[in-house]
Point group: C2
Chain length 109, copies 2
DNA sequence: GTTAAATACCTTGCAATACAAGATATATAC
DNA sequence: GTATATATCTTGTATTGCAAGGTATTTAAC
């Protein structure tokens, strides 16, 4: 297991929501986009199950479309519930990341 | 399970190392310190197993001392291996947190 | 037309870890 | 002796990233 694996837990789902909010996108493209944002190569074994889970939870919805080169693509968009969850995620992230930064910079609140 | 629980995975151990590096400290005190840095009440069921694990891995070492009010305290200090691990953690944290910030601020590298 | 490569998606099972719940022990104050 | 605050540990559960392996489609090369 990679060293950053544990660190991504509870973070990846929010990042996917944030990217999907920018505009309709399909899984394969998402993986590339995450890498462009600085995430080290995330495997499909990570992304596809996550997307399915979030779809089942009603955070995102999917529509199939034909591709110009390959099998059908599954395009995802954010639902209202997904937008609310994204806001909650951002709040949690700000709380946690500022706490960590406080610890690393050695100053209390 | 709390919402931030998953987000703390792979982050807490590094934060403990960073606090222990500041100076000898025991578990009970550590919990209070974490809260002062902004972490919401972390239970002892989280902290003590983590400390034991890190001790077993040789990242920290412990000495028992009498307390003025209560049972003996177990004071922890950082080992050399722990210092190296702390540096690695900081590198991982900077990589991951900047990636997340990139996603949330919607700008690629 | 068959083969190869790139695209695109899914499933199963494992490993790691935060935490709830419960247990134990010491010292002080009443 | 009883209550309270201090201080530590153990067991079991839930969640989730990911490796490994599988399937299907389109285009291009041979």
């Amino acid at each position: 297991m990679s060293e950053t694996t544990q660190m991504l837990k509870g973070i990846l789902d929010g990042c996917l929501l944030a990217i999907i909010k920018e505009g309709e996108i399909y899984g394969y493209e998402l993986a590339a986009k995450l890498e462009s944002y600085g995430f080290r190569s995330l495997s499909e074994g990570t992304i596809y199950p996550l997307l399915l889970r979030m779809q089942k939870e009603g955070l995102i919805s999917a529509t199939l479309r034909k591709s110009t080169a390959g099998p059908k693509r599954k395009y995802y968009t954010l639902t209202e519930k997904g937008e609310r969850e994204l806001k909650l995620f951002i709040g949690r992230w700000e709380q946690v990341s500022s706490s960590v930064d406080n610890v690393l910079n050695k100053r209390g609140i």
